[in-house]
């Protein structure tokens, strides 16, 4: 299938991009790596009247390190992160996550910002950055604002982003030397939708412990009680049954197959964090 007719604009100016977004005639969409929007348009599932290509916006390519975090511009590709071009503030976690996204061809083009806004329930960045407790930096007509990732993704394919806003980048908290992480994705083949994603981050220094489950039908799920208990026990008692129990305690219902996938993903993410 071919995409339905659309107009195309490219700009190197954030203000201009924002003004095109707010244009009255028809709906506009931002185009980044095109790895999600492109297929949707070619299936005629997305039919924007206008595409605004943001790939020339230098402000969205910046990578800057601060003492407590790393700012990663929205246009930074999965491949750039995989290749370790960015300073490592997560003890290798985001590099590991990036390397597990799709195939290299997709990683060469797909961007971290696009992934967050696309908000696929099985997406890797929404899960991993949730476990890390990242902050989203957003540009809009009124200026720049920040949003915690916990409140950014509202559900499957929906985020708290106004039509006239674009994501500038994401602040990834720096982990301390004693932090641990685990990330386990279950998918039948590389590049397929994950059956489940378990992500766990624990940093004794900042007192953070987060356990995240993704590849449900909704936004990633945060299992805070379980995370606290795991951190307390250094992961010791979090076996498959405990994982299943933690899932049941969320109040969500899963079919038996999904429940098992999720339990294994959580269990293995935690096991990885504690070197088991």
């Amino acid at each position: 299938m071919k995409a339905a007719k659309f107009d195309y604009t490219k700009t190197n100016d954030v203000a201009e991009a924002l003004s095109v977004l707010t244009a009255e005639d028809g709906d506009s969409k931002v185009l980044a790596g095109s790895q999600s929007l492109g297929p949707m348009m070619n299936l005629r599932l997305a039919r924007p009247d206008r595409l605004i290509d943001i790939r020339a916006l230098d402000a969205l390519k910046a990578v800057t390190q601060a003492p407590d975090h790393l700012f990663v511009g929205a246009l930074v590709t999965h491949a750039a992160i995989e290749d370790g071009i960015l300073p490592d503030v997560t003890r290798g976690m985001i590099q590991h996550v990036a390397a597990g996204i799709a195939y290299r061809a997709v990683r060469n083009r797909g961007t971290i910002g696009g992934s967050l806004v696309h908000a696929d329930p099985a997406g890797d960045w929404p899960a991993a950055l949730r476990a890390l407790g990242a902050q989203i930096v957003i540009d809009g007509p009124a200026g720049t604002r920040e949003a915690a990732i916990d409140t950014f993704q509202l559900g499957a394919f929906t985020v708290a982003l106004e039509e006239d806003e674009i994501v500038r980048g994401v602040r990834v908290p720096a982990l301390s030397g004693s932090a641990r992480w685990g990330y386990h994705k279950i998918c039948r083949k590389p590049g397929e939708f994950a059956e489940s994603i378990g992500a766990y981050v624990c940093d004794p220094e900042s007192g953070i412990a987060r356990l995240v489950l993704a590849a449900t039908e909704d936004a990633p799920l945060q299992l805070d009680t379980a995370a606290a208990a795991i951190a307390q026990n250094d992961g010791a008692k979090f076996d498959l049954d405990a994982a299943r129990m933690a899932l049941t305690e969320t109040g969500e219902t899963f079919d038996p197959f999904k429940l098992r996938m999720h339990a294994v993903a959580l269990h293995r993410a935690v096991a990885q964090a504690y070197g088991a």
């Binding site: 039948r188 498959l240 098992r260 294994v264």
Partner: protein
């Protein structure tokens, strides 16, 4: 060379046989210089797109095309009814060799009723494909939905809707093979084991989808069809007859073909419609199936459910096997090859390697409101081999016998030929024993057993699988397409010509779809003629240029087409030597051709180059006696005479690991020992085997056309339908045993499909070997994590 010394030719100084040359097209296609149908642009080309039925079964009440016709760039809108008026009539996908088979008349596009989701209903032709799709969206169809028949198990039940009331019921075909005394054997058997299996429907997913560019020239009244296809002459016959153009005025060209796998040997209504549009418009019309429409219009295959039982003696001999197959085909039997061949092959080949006489196999083939099914690489074999090998493993396990030992005991011995397989199909020149022994060495079977045992203690579950097979290749005219009434040649032909330059043009009826058929044909011609390979040009895939042939399917190109090349080349060689003898005033018997020169036989002294023969033979005929008129060309045909197939054999080994928490399978290693007779090009044969294995592993693990109860395809896109790719595939080690077929001088058998045939079965055997400590066995394919976990009782 003399006629009696055929084998010496293959080992002689000219021989290109047994050399691993790379494919002639490899460099070109890798460099992006391939020329596929969609790369061909003709002036004034317009593009076809189709409105397809969204329902599995629905009556067409009204079609409103007015808005679509007014859309920008639209040059033609044609409904199924309008197309029917422009064609000679519907097809009926039956063959007389399938006794009692029935199928309903089928039009290229639905006329008053759509019978599967995806059936073409209206065609729009526009300046560009995107414009044609825009216009398709404007077509309004009033549908009356009819309840569909979605499940094979209930298709014959009273109360199930009958797809085609004129047929009386949903039964397409039924057949039983009954040999020996099956009932007695079961009644007196020491051990009887039963099992039931299910195999998921899947489809070919060729990298290049179906593609066609039809160009009707009203001036010459000639129709040229460029199409991604394996069988140009069949397309010529079917399209000519359907559209009322004289067959000799239809030229079919198959340029580079990006994968076909049996998909591209069938008649597809959308392609016929696009061709009709070219005739209607008097301008070229292009139709390139996109991936979404491919899923609902390319043939599907392999939807079978089988129950099986085996009888074995305590000593470990197979006494009887019985299978009962239920196959769910589509809404119509595919034209002209039918949708029942697959089931027929399951009956023919199940437990084919083994020596026992009591065999009963029944199939029941039913129509469903789904995409029509038909021949797909290794037709029926993955099903029959999986069933046969699983039953053999169960028997061995029950007896406490090693699966290798059990097979050693039961395979047909290598000196038992000619013989018949349990189904009664004639087999000859097979090598089960040699292949089994070679495989055991290749895979280090004992070492694997030790590793498996050690790892099991650590909670790692690995399994070793072995699966032998017979594979029907290179069919002959007996009981096959042509004799069944289809316009499909079972012979194939070659014309070789010596050009004035001394170069040779070799035209063949078989086609290349990337396997390297042209390379192999060149190797055969070069060997028989005694000329360097780069002096030969092989031409295939153009009905205006090549002798009439069947094309490439059923692993026939080298076995059938290759023998025609060999015979024609031997004829041409004889003529060249005769002419050289006259020119040199020597006895032709004392001459030979080596390295492109006529030489003195034995000593190799160069007497005259072929360029000189070519020059004189074409330009200076006055130098020859008046009563001698060389043609410097030869045409030969080849077909099997007595046998229905050249059966081949081989055996696979697999090593897998099962994650018993997730049900995920990891393919660690795969081995194949294959006997495809004389190996013309070992490297290309290996690649065929490997590619074939990957395709088989796709069906075993991933590929599945999932339908809901309304016969709606749920996963018809590459986002949802999983195909095997390099990352998850194991290393595949290939070795050969060479037992030339006695059917031809060349001795080559088919090699292109056997990987696909046995790979699913061997992996199933390996998985079940791994699961043995749990007392569980997987008998459903694809073996998804869910299937494995359910088998383990974990969900």
């Amino acid at each position: 060379m003399s006629d009696s010394g055929a084998s010496s030719v293959f080992e002689g100084p000219n021989s290109h046989i047994g050399r691993s040359l790379s494919r002639a097209s490899a460099r070109r296609t890798v460099a992006g210089r391939g020329r596929y149908t969609d790369d061909i642009t003709l002036p004034r080309t317009v593009h076809a797109a189709f409105v397809r039925s969204p329902y599995a079964h629905a009556r067409i009440l009204k079609i409103d095309t007015a808005d679509a016709e007014a859309m920008p760039g639209v040059v033609l809108v044609m409904t199924g009814a309008e197309l029917a008026e422009r064609s000679t009539g519907p097809w009926i996908g039956t063959l007389s060799c399938f006794e009692g088979m029935k199928s309903a008349p089928q039009y290229a596009m639905a006329v008053d009723r759509a019978c599967w989701q995806g059936e073409p209903v209206v065609m729009v032709v526009a300046e560009r494909r995107a414009l044609a799709e825009d216009a398709c969206e404007q077509i309004v169809i009033d549908w009356e939905v009819i309840s569909p028949t979605a499940e094979a198990e209930t298709a014959l039940d009273a109360g199930t809707p009958v797809l085609h009331p004129d047929l009386g019921d949903n039964l397409a075909f039924t057949k039983t093979i009954d040999r020996g005394t099956v009932d007695d054997a079961f009644a007196s058997a020491d051990i009887v084991l039963e099992e039931s299996f299910s195999f998921g429907r899947h489809t070919a997913v060729s990298l290049e989808p179906r593609a066609l560019l039809a160009d009707y020239d009203p001036g010459t009244e000639r129709l040229t069809i460029h199409t991604s296809n394996q069988v140009p002459h069949m397309i010529q016959a079917v399209f000519a007859r359907t559209l009322g153009v004289p067959e000799h005025n239809v030229r079919v060209i198959a340029p580079d073909v990006g994968g076909s796998f049996g998909l591209k040997i069938h008649t597809f209504g959308d392609e016929v419609a696009a061709t009709a549009a070219s005739i209607e418009l008097g301008r070229p019309v292009k139709f390139i199936a996109d991936r979404l429409e491919s899923f609902v219009s390319d043939i599907h295959a392999r939807e079978h459910q089988i129950s099986a039982r085996i009888a074995v003696s305590k000593a470990g001999d197979i006494q009887a096997l019985e299978i009962d197959d239920l196959a769910g085909v589509g809404a119509y039997s595919a034209y002209p090859r039918t949708s029942v061949f697959e089931a027929n092959q399951v009956l023919n080949i199940t437990a084919g390697p083994y020596k026992f006489e009591n065999y009963r196999a029944k199939t029941t083939v039913v129509y469903l409101n789904k995409v029509p099914t038909s021949q797909y690489r290794s037709v029926g074999h993955p099903i029959g081999i999986s069933v046969g090998e699983h039953m053999v493993d169960r028997a061995a396990e029950t007896l406490g016998m090693d699966p290798v030992e059990f097979r050693r005991r039961n395979v047909m011995p290598d000196d038992a030929y000619p013989g018949v397989a349990p189904s009664g199909v004639p087999v000859n020149d097979l090598s089960h024993e040699a292949c089994l022994e070679k495989l055991i060495g290749l895979m280090d079977y004992e070492g694997l057993l030790r590793e498996q045992a050690a790892l099991r203690k650590q909670g790692v579950y690995r399994g070793i699988g072995i699966a032998g097979f017979i594979k029907g290749t290179a069919p002959g005219p007996q009981g096959y397409y042509g004799s069944g009434g289809a316009p499909i040649a079972s012979q194939d032909a070659c014309t070789v010509k010596l050009e004035p330059s001394g170069g040779v043009i070799c035209t063949v009826g078989v086609t290349d779809q990337g396997q390297g058929v042209d390379t192999v044909m060149g190797q055969i011609a070069a060997t028989a003629l005694g000329i360097p390979l780069d002096q030969i040009r092989v031409i295939e895939g153009d009905t205006d240029a090549v002798p009439y042939g069947g094309g490439t399917y059923a692993s026939r190109a080298t076995a059938i087409g290759g023998e025609a090349v060999y015979q024609a080349s031997c004829d041409l060689r004889r003529e060249i030597l005769t002419m050289a003898g006259i020119l040199l005033q020597s006895d032709a018997e004392t001459l030979d051709i080596v390295g492109g020169n006529v030489v003195t036989a034995g000593s190799g002294e160069i007497r005259v180059p072929l360029s000189e023969i070519g020059r004189i033979g074409h330009f200076q005929l006055g130098e020859l006696p008046n009563d001698y008129q060389p043609t410097l060309s030869a045409t030969r045909r080849f077909r099997l005479t007595e046998l229905p197939y050249i059966f081949t054999n081989g055996i696979h080994g697999a090593y897998v690991e099962v994650d018993t928490d997730t049900g995920f399978l990891r393919l660690l290693k795969h081995w194949v020992v294959e006997d495809c007779g004389r190996l013309i090009n070992p490297n290309l044969a290996d690649e065929q085997v490997r590619g074939g294995c990957v395709q088989g592993l796709g069906g075993a693990l991933y590929e599945h056309c999932l339908y809901d109860e309304n016969a709606q395809l749920l996963n018809g896109s590459m986002a949802d339908y999983l195909t095997p790719m390099a990352a998850e595939m194991p290393d595949i080690e290939v070795a050969h045993v060479e037992t030339p077929t006695s059917e031809s001088e060349l001795g080559a058998k088919g090699a292109g499909e056997s990987g696909t045939g046995a790979a699913p079965g061997v992996v199933m055997c390996a998985v079940n070997n791994a699961l043995r400590p749990f007392g569980a066995a997987v008998t459903a394919q694809p073996m998804t994590p869910e299937v494995v976990l359910r088998t383990l009782g974990k969900i």
